[in-house]
């Protein structure tokens, strides 16, 4: 980490659309890729890392304190109350689980579509998925009130001789989120094995015995055997094939938590695709928020190129516009249904007491990605970073708007109320960022943040017919 390469001079001319831009820039060799990716894990820890880690771990400690206070006192410490029984905890849950979805999309869906550019961002995005699902999982768990009987959500024999209600979407959620976490973790770990072996071999060579042992144990004795690669690639393909419907199912099931109820504003059939598009949108936003600084501070410009950022911006433009379409369609269906309660719910959403939240959501999610129609803006890391922050904010507000505006006007006007979060709500949410960033900083410091073996595999030199025949297909 001592010598951070300067930002290279990039000739940013519109490329010939008939020739694919190289995925790795700067004329790098296989060994260069290894050296670039291994540098952050092998050098001395930079002071900036300690600074960020200090902030993150302080927020994490605050999360622990808030959860402790909640468990000892009760859910009354939050702003949740009749009629708004689902406040920030559920908003935060949906926010974090949505962020996770981009990681799976990049690692699985883009893999199935043979989008080779995914290789330089998939590792960090998968890590983001796992940490985001960890942050997400906390909220419904602590929201149950009596967390010491949380095992009632699992089909385990208990003292009441009762079983869970499998007809409830909340229980589907338990299965969806735990399956999602398990599969994401396995997918990530399988991908890490060859790269951990690289770190092992480098640590052995450099005489760093503790690191060599640690990386050695987790790389399982990998030695790149082709017989191993064949099973490995098959497993990877199968995991990608399983994760693709899984990622769509998870946010669909999260949306069922709302859509299967009978509440105006929630009870709509558009929710599953709308939630999935929003999840991908928010997740790609977080990918940019994480990767733009990482790329700069870790000197990875040649691996995470402007073309990668450009592609992510296009995904944001597409999914942001899909989300905008869903917002409009909700209004149309409310009008077209002729149901007075539906119509009130949506007019109240846009022009009622939470209009400020609604318009923050629309500005961040629908308007801000429209800047990505312009190529110059898609290839400007500063603009991308700023808009990615807007996307994160906007998607949190989307979940807030959906959850709170539908609840705060009950069927009985006598129970109408205005929801306000408490300080504990705010600190708990801030604490979840502490968990996420603590994990991500540890990952960036100790693990290969770019999938080296996959990046090498998409370089032109990796093709066994490279050099004596220019036909890509062999």
């Amino acid at each position: 980490m001592t010598a951070i390469p300067a930002e290279p001079q990039i000739v940013d001319e519109p490329e010939n659309p008939l020739v694919r831009a190289p995925l790795v820039e700067g004329g790098r060799s296989f060994a260069d890729v290894t050296n670039l990716v291994a540098a952050p894990a092998e050098g001395t820890t930079p002071r900036g890392w300690y600074l960020m880690f200090g902030v993150a771990i302080a927020l994490l400690a605050n999360l622990g304190a808030m959860i402790g206070y909640l468990i000892f006192t009760g859910v009354g410490v939050w702003g949740n109350n009749v009629p708004v029984g689902w406040g920030w905890p559920i908003v935060n849950f949906v926010f974090w689980i949505g962020i996770g979805h981009a990681g799976t999309l990049i690692s699985a869906v883009l893999f199935l579509f043979r989008q080779k550019w995914r290789t330089s961002i998939n590792r960090a995005s998968e890590a983001m998925t796992i940490f985001a699902v960890m942050a997400a999982g906390i909220f419904p768990a602590i929201h149950v009130g009596r967390i010491w009987v949380i095992y009632w959500v699992f089909p385990l024999p208990n003292q009441m001789a009762m079983w869970p209600n499998f007809k409830s979407p909340l229980l589907w959620d338990v299965f969806a989120v735990s399956t999602y976490f398990t599969i994401s973790l396995l997918f990530w770990f399988v991908g890490l094995i060859p790269d951990l072996a690289t770190f092992r071999d480098r640590a052995v060579k450099a005489g760093r015995t503790v690191a060599a042992k640690a990386y050695g144990i987790f790389s399982f004795g990998w030695h790149g055997s082709n017989r191993h690669w064949m099973h490995y690639e098959k497993a990877y393909l199968i995991l990608a094939g399983l994760s693709t419907p899984l990622v769509f199912s998870v946010h669909s099931i999260v949306s069922f938590d709302f859509a299967v109820s009978l509440l105006p504003g929630w009870h709509t059939t558009i929710f599953p695709p709308y939630f999935v598009a929003g999840a991908i949108f928010s997740g790609f936003g977080m990918v940019l928020t994480l990767m733009i600084p990482a790329r700069k501070w870790l000197g990875l410009h040649d691996l995470i190129t402007l073309n990668h950022l450009d592609n992510i911006a296009k995904v944001l433009l597409l999914t942001g516009t899909m989300v905008g379409y869903a917002y409009a369609m909700e209004f149309f269906i409310a009008w077209y249904s002729g149901v007075q309660y539906e119509q009130f719910a949506f007019i109240n959403r846009a022009f009622g007491p939470y209009a400020w939240a609604y318009w923050i959501m629309v500005s961040c999610n629908v308007i801000s990605p429209q800047f990505f129609w312009f190529r110059q803006l898609r290839r400007n890391p500063t603009v991308l970073f700023v808009i990615s922050i807007f996307v994160n904010i906007g998607m949190w507000f989307e979940r807030f708007v959906i959850t709170v505006t539908s609840l705060h006007r009950d069927f009985l006007p006598s129970s109408w109320a205005y929801f306000s979060p408490t300080l504990i709500d705010i600190l708990t949410y801030a604490g979840s960022f502490g968990l996420f960033f603590t994990m991500f900083l540890l990952f960036a410091r100790f693990l290969p943040i770019i999938a080296m073996s996959e990046v090498k595999g998409v370089m032109p030199e990796a093709n066994p017919h490279h050099g004596h025949d220019h036909d890509e297909k062999h």
Partner: protein, 178 residues
Amino acid sequence: MTSNNKWGVVAEFDSAQSVYHAAEKLTAEGYTRTDAHTPFPVHGIDKMLNHRESPLGWLVVCGGATGIVVAQAMMYWMNAVDYPFWVSGKEPYAWPATIPITFELMVLLSGLTAVFGMFGLNKLPRLHHPIFKHSTLHRVTDDRFFLSVEATDPKFDSEKTLQFLQSIGGTNVEIIED
């Protein structure tokens, strides 16, 4: 078997192209217990070495089917037999409501089978392997490519195999003790 205490012979190559063509020659010479060791999967080399396709997909199908059966049996027995109850206007066993969990358990068991099946077929974790004794094999996870011929190969003869691997472009050709 012409050797005792020998695991095999390992040769180094400097590019994906050279290891690919050397693998082709190795198989043409009649060697069968061969393997390539590469930093990333070199596509097509399995055909050069006559490696069979992975049967992992069939294991995963079994895992997925188990997931479906387990999920359905669990939900039927728990909600309709052991403690039947009517809720949200649905019968004790209402099949549409069982689909999400059935799907999730199918994916979960398929995924676990894919990962642990892969480890099982690869006989991993195995932290010590004779091939690690090769002096430059640490570069297999960086930028070098290797071919190995195991001593169990009927055609194996440590000297002749070593010379053959050198003749097809291998460097640092070493006999590895078991």
